[in-house]
């Protein structure tokens, strides 16, 4: 069939009343994320969705439901567990995976340590950066060619340049200076053996978008995202959770404060903030006037130097 376009049959609308309403901010972001998830499912033979039990990957699961239900997800879920995560987050992770009826793969940094793949300089060293080794080993073990993650470009400056389909070479490395140009919604998913892609459906979401979506979709989250009493060590203007995985110094004053977590990850580097926001609506309101950026306030691992995220990402961190 070879046909040329036909001229319009009916003229454009004359009255503004005929103009349909623009999609809302969240509708726009949701539709884009579903599109990206479906492209990932179509372009890769063994994708996996990284699910930690945190708020971003919980949003990702709801978007996967919207993209693929009533079918099964075209990918398993995977968590790389440092062994130093909050127990209730791990319980939440398992409960949600079971509720969804989707397969959850867990690979542990401890296993990488036991097998000599990761060597700690000292027993209490943070295991956060070590996840990279465990993740890359799991990618090889299962032959994954795409890892779908909940990272957002607004989280951190190095992530602002990340592509939606972000290429990793056979060493798992990201080369920020030689990324594939990414135009329109035309994602290039072509890979050679041993290479893989990181796929980020939430690239264009911000922290407030994520909270508004959690509110709109009534998504359950681990309770430590909401205000609760917790013993914390006060060190300058940061609060450290009291835990066997956090080494306190003699100068740290331990107090009980009302806090919540804005990001949830490895205990050794995830910091609570003081807050009385106990509901999603209160968190939305608080986030709108928040004076500290999400990772700045709460992640010890990003404070080492201005460039620390970029350095971790280059070697394969998510």
């Amino acid at each position: 069939m070879d046909s040329s376009p036909v001229p319009p049959l009916v003229p454009a609308p004359a009255s503004p009343a005929a103009v349909p309403a623009a999609a809302s901010q969240l509708d726009h972001l949701e539709s884009e994320a579903i599109y990206i998830l479906r492209e990932a499912a179509a372009e890769f033979s063994h994708p996996v969705l990284l699910f930690s039990g945190g708020k971003d990957s919980t949003v990702l699961l709801r978007l996967a439901e919207k993209a693929f239900r009533p079918g099964k997800f075209p990918f398993p879920l995977m968590h790389v567990d440092t062994g130093q995560n909050f127990p209730e987050v791990i319980a939440f992770r398992d409960r949600i995976a079971a509720q969804l009826g989707e397969r959850l793969i867990v690979r542990t940094v401890q296993d990488s340590i036991d097998r000599g793949r990761v060597r700690l300089k000292h027993a209490n060293q943070s295991r956060n950066a070590m996840q990279t080794v465990t993740l890359l080993d799991a990618i090889k073990e299962f032959g994954f060619d795409a890892c779908i993650g909940g990272a957002r470009r607004d989280e951190e400056k190095a992530r602002a340049k990340e592509r939606i389909f972000s290429f990793r070479n056979s060493f798992g490395e990201w080369d920020p200076r030689h990324q594939r140009p990414e135009l329109w919604s035309l994602y290039n998913g072509r890979l050679d053996k041993g290479e893989h892609m990181r796929v980020f459906p939430l690239s264009n979401w911000t922290e407030i978008d994520v909270w508004r979506y959690i509110e709109r979709e009534h998504l359950a989250l681990p309770s430590l995202y909401y205000a609760h009493e917790r013993p914390v060590a006060v060190r300058g203007n940061i609060l450290l959770p009291v835990s066997e995985f956090v080494t306190l110094s003699d100068d740290d004053a331990v107090e009980t404060r009302v806090v919540r977590f804005r990001t949830v990850g490895d205990i050794s580097c995830t910091l609570p903030v003081e807050s009385s926001a106990a509901t999603v609506a209160e968190i939305v309101a608080e986030t709108l006037i928040a004076s500290l950026s999400e990772r700045g306030a709460t992640r010890l691992d990003d404070q080492t130097s201005d460039a620390s995220m970029e350095e971790r990402k280059r070697v394969g961190y998510f």
Partner: protein, 443 residues
């Protein structure tokens, strides 16, 4: 929901994507930094980081441009080298900014940023006036179908906020815009450094009676014209759903790229060319009575028809063209020059087919609009009109009619690199631009 939240929801007109472009020292990063800072979108820890950086350099004022410049290498070189995305929102709108470098070597980044943009904010230095770079950015934004071209005449503080200096620049920009056929042009005199006409108005330029830049961006009409274009639905995936009677039925997953679809609509399945009827339109929450451009949905059709990823469901009375050859304007991205022998893949919509560049018609000098006929090769950042031969038929529109079904990328089949971006031209001989395309008053 609180009253404030309800009001905010009522005013929510969605997302505006804009690209920023400008030469290295036009102050583009400063402008974005200023917009974020003056609209209270910068958090206190980032301001503290800027203050620390200023103290290290022994400067008294913070450098707002550092809010935009991301990677370590760039911080060392002091220039932006790639497309960086940033975000801020007002109650009316969420803004997605694609910041692209103005350096001559990086035309490809500018094209990348413009490909998804509804608006382009192009900076002109009030002291230097319109430059080759300005013409290049205006032309590329227009070529990429960016609906609104916003010229921010920056550094007005350095020309004493002089109306005549501004008017001279405005005149030359308008003349060039007319020459390339760009319609929606807006000009704003600003000082990114001091904030004049960025978020707040400027008492130092009382002669300017337009909106400050942010207010302009908040009120630009949203890109909803795609609602009135003929229906296009590239199929991403096929889902087999078990039916109650034990059989299976198929759903086609994808995003409505233009127009709208309702149960009962006739649709053409292209490139095969069969026509069938839509049985159901649905999303996660259940059946829909219609879906408009931009929505990710599932469609079921009547009959047992072979439909797969890469097929396009389209309005049968206003179908896309189906052909194995096409003419297009491409922007060459690869460091390697184009060679006729190389094997390429064209990805258009959700279909990927083998492709060959059969002819190079001409190369365009974007700054002078001069053409060089039949160049033997193409190098990085070249813009050229080419003819492309495809291994299988493809359903497509002219890019100016439909951005989603008129755009493609070329992938090097050996290296997997994305080597070019293409915009499909109208068929030769058909030159008259159509106005706003078909509108169905039934909705």
């Amino acid at each position: 929901m609180s009253e404030a939240a309800t009001n905010a929801a009522a005013a929510d007109i969605g997302v505006l994507r804009f690209s920023t472009a400008g030469s290295v020292d036009d102050g583009k990063s400063s402008l974005i930094g200023r917009m974020l800072y003056d609209s209270n979108s910068v958090t206190s820890d980032r301001v503290e980081a800027l203050e620390r950086a200023a103290r290290r350099k022994g400067e008294t004022e913070i450098d707002l441009s550092l809010l935009m410049d991301g990677l370590t290498i760039e911080r060392e070189q002091g220039i932006t080298i790639d497309v960086a995305y940033s975000y801020f929102a007002t109650p009316q709108r969420k803004f997605i900014i694609a910041d692209t470098p103005g350096h001559e070597q990086y035309t490809r980044n500018m094209v990348t940023g413009a490909s998804t943009a509804d608006a382009a904010v192009i900076l002109v230095d009030a002291q230097r006036g319109m430059t080759t770079q300005t013409r290049r950015h205006l032309y590329l934004s227009h070529l990429l179908g960016v609906a609104h071209l916003v010229i921010a005449v920056n550094k007005m503080d350095l020309v004493a906020f002089d109306q005549k200096a501004y008017a001279a620049i405005a005149q030359s920009v308008e003349a060039f815009a007319r020459a390339i056929g760009a319609a929606r042009l807006y000009l704003v005199p600003i000082s990114a450094k001091f904030g004049d006409n960025v978020v707040h108005g400027s008492p130092r330029m009382p002669w300017y009676d337009g909106k400050p830049l942010l207010a302009l961006l908040e009120t630009l009409p949203p890109a909803i014209l795609t609602h009135y274009a003929p229906f296009r639905f590239p199929v991403q995936l096929v889902r087999r759903v078990p039916a109650p009677n034990g059989e299976q039925f198929r759903q086609y997953l994808g995003r409505v790229e233009s127009g709208r679809v309702r149960p009962g609509d006739e649709v053409a399945i292209l490139p095969a060319g069969r026509v069938t009827r839509v049985r159901a339109v649905s999303h996660f929450a259940g059946p829909l009575d219609h879906a408009v451009a931009g929505r990710s949905i599932a469609i079921e059709v009547d009959g047992d028809i072979d439909i797969g990823r890469g097929d396009v469901l389209a309005a049968p009375l206003q179908p896309p063209r189906v052909d194995k050859k096409l003419s297009a304007t491409i922007c060459w991205f690869a460091d390697e020059t184009f060679t006729p022998a190389a094997r390429y893949l064209a990805k258009c919509g959700t279909r990927t087919v083998s492709a060959r560049i059969s002819d190079t018609v001409h190369r365009l000098d974007v700054a002078t609009l001069a053409t060089e006929p039949a160049p033997e090769t193409l190098k990085c950042n070249d813009i050229a009109m080419v003819r492309i031969a495809l291994a299988q038929p493809l359903a497509f529109d002219a890019y100016e009619d439909n951005r989603a079904t008129g755009a493609f990328i070329l992938i090097d089949a050996d290296t997997n690199a994305t080597v070019a971006a293409g915009m499909i031209a109208r068929p030769e001989g058909e030159s008259a631009a159509r106005d706003v395309t078909g509108f169905d008053p039934g909705l």
